[in-house]
């Protein structure tokens, strides 16, 4: 009886979502380009055949099956679609800044297919991004890996189907400021931040044990009492089981070591540090633990915990064997991640392949989607960026961006105004002075709405 009830209610919940996701997949022959596969070297004057959203052949002299159009890439550079392991585009809200742990909330409930930033990211060759919670809370909630299928009006279409679950954790100043300074509750220090995780994992373990006992008991005893469902503990339990990858906002080396120790104690292995400005100081420890790092190319000094940063961070991490990516955390920077990756050549002399890996296969590994995207290989999704010059050159301009074989950006023919829904109040009358845009932590967006409201400023 119960089983039928649960199964049917689950179906009612899931079916509309499954039915309404209508991912468009395309076929195309990309001809005669310089192909930068990232994982298997470069090919001159090579073709890529895309069928029904997947790469089906890479080589010379391929012919297009009937009905498949050809895109001439002569003189152009063809690379895997760029992946941003840290962004906040394509979502309505960033922070549920109400408790130090909100493991129970999910960015996937707030996807926004109308966000123009998604198109602008496509115009920078970016085909997928990790839509993340903010860093107001030590445990922010589950994130969503999205594909940039701009043009759809259905939020369901944005999800990268089959991508592993991820969760945002945050260390240091942001949770300390929001909760300690702002709400006068723990954490006000990095000591307090540690205990939020330990307590969260301990509670999840107790909760899991309770359910395990119930499952055993109910066969013998029909009157066994079902434990109270708690999504926060459920989610933290899935982290402990290895089904959710932790992506942790972090800056200082001491707090990075703290989370490594916590994860070791609780047997959590899938761990990616975000920002990781002082990752370079503990690169051997990160490498030994198999933890990965997603970093800015050169951001520093906008607050104290990023004062002792270096633009050589990515190079030091990579040379010490840490799987490293360059991310944006910004609707502006996401548009030129190829340029951000190129900075690892000025600051650390990385090779072209190492630099490109930072924005393709490495972020794919960090999101657990490396079997699907992140390199140009037969069988992978046809998420492809085509540039008029080498993508690590400052003069390179993205020309085409394909998601699932569909051309979603075409520099030559796209209209200037790409809004899916014109807003009378925001777009045309609001002019934003952009100077400040990279001087505040995008991760904190929305965390201070209450404070702003106190001063009579509101965000809709």
């Amino acid at each position: 009886m119960f089983k039928i009830f649960w199964a049917s209610s689950l179906g009612v919940l899931l079916l509309p979502g499954l039915l309404s996701a209508q991912v468009t997949r395309g076929s195309l022959l990309i001809r005669n380009g310089t192909v930068l596969t990232v994982t298997r070297g470069n090919l001159e004057n090579a073709d890529i055949l895309v069928e029904n959203g997947k790469i089906t052949a890479i080589g010379k002299g391929l012919t297009a099956p009937s009905g498949v159009k050809t895109l001439d890439a002569s003189g152009k550079y063809v690379m895997p679609g760029i992946i941003d392991a840290h962004s906040h585009i394509g979502i309505d809200v960033v922070n549920e800044a109400s408790r130090p742990s909100t493991a129970d909330v999910w960015v996937g409930d707030a996807l926004d297919p109308l966000d123009l930033s998604v198109y602008r990211a496509l115009a920078g060759g970016v085909t997928a991004s990790h839509a993340m919670h903010g860093s107001a809370n030590a445990v922010g909630g589950e994130c969503e890996t999205i594909k940039h299928r701009y043009g759809t009006l259905n939020p369901e279409d944005m999800r990268m189907e089959g991508a592993p679950r991820t969760i945002k954790f945050a260390l240091g100043e942001n949770p300390m400021r929001v909760h300690g300074e702002g709400n006068r509750i723990v954490p006000a220090t990095r000591m307090g931040v540690e205990q939020i995780f330990r307590k969260g994992f301990d509670e999840a373990k107790a909760y899991m044990a309770e359910w395990e006992a119930f499952e055993k008991e109910k066969g013998k005893n029909p009157a066994a009492i079902r434990p109270v469902y708690n999504r926060r503990h459920e989610v933290m339990g899935e982290v402990l089981r290895g089904n959710i990858i932790i992506h942790c906002h972090s800056y200082r080396s001491d707090e990075i070591l703290m989370l490594l120790a916590v994860c070791k104690d609780y047997g959590v292995k899938r761990l990616v540090f975000q920002h990781t400005n002082e990752g370079f100081k503990v690169a051997p420890e990160l490498a030994a633990a198999g933890a990965m790092a997603s970093v800015f190319a050169d951001w520093w000094a906008y607050k104290f915990e990023v004062y002792y940063s270096t633009a050589y961070n990515a190079a030091i991490l990579a040379k010490n064997g840490v799987v490293t990516s360059i991310n944006s955390d910004s609707e502006e920077y996401i548009r030129h991640l190829y340029h951000e990756a190129a900075k690892t050549q000025r600051y650390g002399n990385l090779s072209d392949e190492e630099a490109l890996a930072m924005i393709t296969i490495n972020p794919a590994r960090q999101l657990g989607i490396e079997q699907r995207v992140g390199s140009l290989e037969v069988g992978k999704d046809a998420d492809i960026a085509i540039f008029d010059g080498h993508p690590l050159s400052v003069y390179a301009i993205p020309q085409y961006t394909l998601v699932d074989g569909v051309i979603r950006f075409n520099r030559a023919t796209d209209a200037a105004d790409q809004r899916l829904q014109a807003s009378a109040t925001r777009a045309e009358t609001s002019f934003t002075l952009l100077k400040e845009q990279h001087h505040f932590d995008r991760c904190l967006e929305g965390a201070f709405d209450q404070t702003l409201a106190f001063f009579g400023i509101s965000r809709e």
């Binding site: 270096t310 030091i316 502006e332 400052v394 003069y395 777009a427 002019f431 400023i457």
Partner: protein, 432 residues
């Protein structure tokens, strides 16, 4: 033979630096030999460049190496003039979220006499971080209020205001604008308009007072019986009215740019430079017709409107230049002024062209600020502010091998480089 000995000595000197000694800037006679010379004003040449007494003594093919000169073999390397950033908050901010380390914004709407160079911390960590990427000179601009203060052009070597001052100052006016200030600014259009009108009224009142001040002080100069009360704010604005100090008008929205031009023409301001000018492409013809030069940036930025093409900020500098506006590029940054060459690179790619973009961070800002006799190109008699690179300084891959600023050879060292050297192969490593 002799030059070889000198070369050996020089490399000994470098080795001495590398051995962990304190790295200092120094001066001397240098011969940069067999170089490609990107002169900016006189095309690309090959040959030697001689530095003596802090100046470029001579350059070009067949220029002799003076005896006693330290030789730097530049075979395969290219020499460019040091880059000039036409607008930064460099040296005014150490950590931007900690307000007491941020000296950009004095209290009050009317503070034109606040001197940016006074608060420029020559030892700010960002100064060395900036110059090792070839930025030799930067305009340091105070922020906030109607008249935030006086900007100064500084060379990024030296320890006192006198040592760093590079010969240009200008009063900053944040021209009243109708735009919102950020994502959180939700004032109604009506309120915005009211505030804009109020701000313009306030500006005109201030200006009328400054004009009176000029009349009164002129009269006082001829009549010893007249005494004028101390008024540092008006004294500074009077310099603008008299034309002894340029006015840097910060304005970004198309309608505001037009209003600023009308205002400056109406007030007959002798020396005007427009700064920011993010929507300049919309009114480029009008800016060109007014004849005011522009310092624009950041280039790597979002478009100002949702309906604009994604690349409008990249293209803005080039579109204005094509319309006949004299355009220099700025980063408008504090800690990442080092990205100036990349801002110029994006401008170059999106329509400005490499040559014009290179001018926009060298000779053009020097001309706009009236220091082209000293800075902005490789020419005999100019100050030796230059970098020796492996290639195009706009390309991220390019490395800078040597750096001269204001005649001094500057060590290629910064805290970020020191951290690299300490942590690339950390010791102790994983095991102690």
């Amino acid at each position: 033979m002799k030059s070889n000995i000198i070369r050996v000595l020089f490399f000994c000197l470098l080795a001495h630096f590398a051995a962990g000694q304190v790295k200092k800037s120094s001066k001397g006679t240098f011969a940069l030999t067999n170089a490609t010379l990107e002169t900016i004003t006189k095309g690309r040449q090959t040959g030697n460049l001689i530095i003596r007494d802090g100046k470029i003594e001579s350059l070009g093919p067949g220029v002799a190496v003076p005896s006693g000169a330290t030789i730097i073999d530049c075979q395969g390397l290219t020499i460019y003039p040091g880059l000039i950033d036409g607008g930064t908050q460099l040296g005014l901010v150490e950590v931007s979220s900690i307000s007491l380390t941020d000296d950009t914004d004095e209290l009050g709407e009317l503070t034109p006499h606040m001197e940016a160079i006074t608060a420029f911390n020559t030892s700010a960590t960002a100064v060395a971080v900036t110059r090792v990427d070839g930025i030799s000179t930067a305009l340091v601009v105070p922020q906030g209020g109607l008249f935030p203060g006086t900007a100064s052009l500084v060379n990024l070597v030296g320890y006192t205001p006198d040592q760093i001052y590079a010969g240009f100052r200008g009063v900053v006016l944040n021209f009243p604008g109708s735009g919102r200030r950020g994502f959180w600014d939700r004032r109604s259009d009506e309120d915005l308009k009211k505030e804009e009108e109020k701000a313009l009224r306030q500006l005109n009142e201030v200006w009328t007072e400054a004009q009176y001040y000029v009349q009164v002080t002129d009269a006082a100069a001829k009549n010893a019986a007249l005494r004028v009360a101390a008024n540092p704010e008006m004294a500074r604005l009077a310099e603008v009215i008299r034309g002894t100090m340029p006015l840097l008008i910060e304005t970004n929205r198309a309608a505001d740019i037009e209003a600023a031009i009308r205002w400056a023409q109406d007030k007959k301001i002798p020396k005007v430079i427009l700064t920011g000018v993010a929507e300049g492409w919309r009114v480029a013809d009008k800016i060109a017709k007014a004849g005011y030069p522009v310092i624009t940036g950041p280039v790597i930025a979002l478009p100002t409107r949702g309906s604009d093409a994604y690349d409008k900020a990249y293209a803005n500098a080039g579109l204005m230049a094509k319309a006949g506006v004299k355009v220099a590029i700025r980063s408008n940054d504090s800690e990442n002024v080092r990205n100036l060459p990349f801002h110029a690179g994006f401008a170059a790619a999106y329509g400005m062209g490499k040559e014009e973009a290179l001018r926009a961070v060298t000779i053009t800002p020097a001309e706009i600020m009236g220091v082209a006799d000293k800075l902005g190109s490789l020419e005999a008699g100019k100050t030796a502010s230059l970098m020796i690179t492996t290639g195009d300084p706009f390309e991220p891959k390019t490395q800078i091998r040597y750096l001269f600023i204001d005649g001094w050879i500057v060590p290629l060292d910064s805290r970020q480089i020191q951290l690299y050297e300490e942590f690339l192969n950390r010791s102790p490593g994983l095991k102690k």
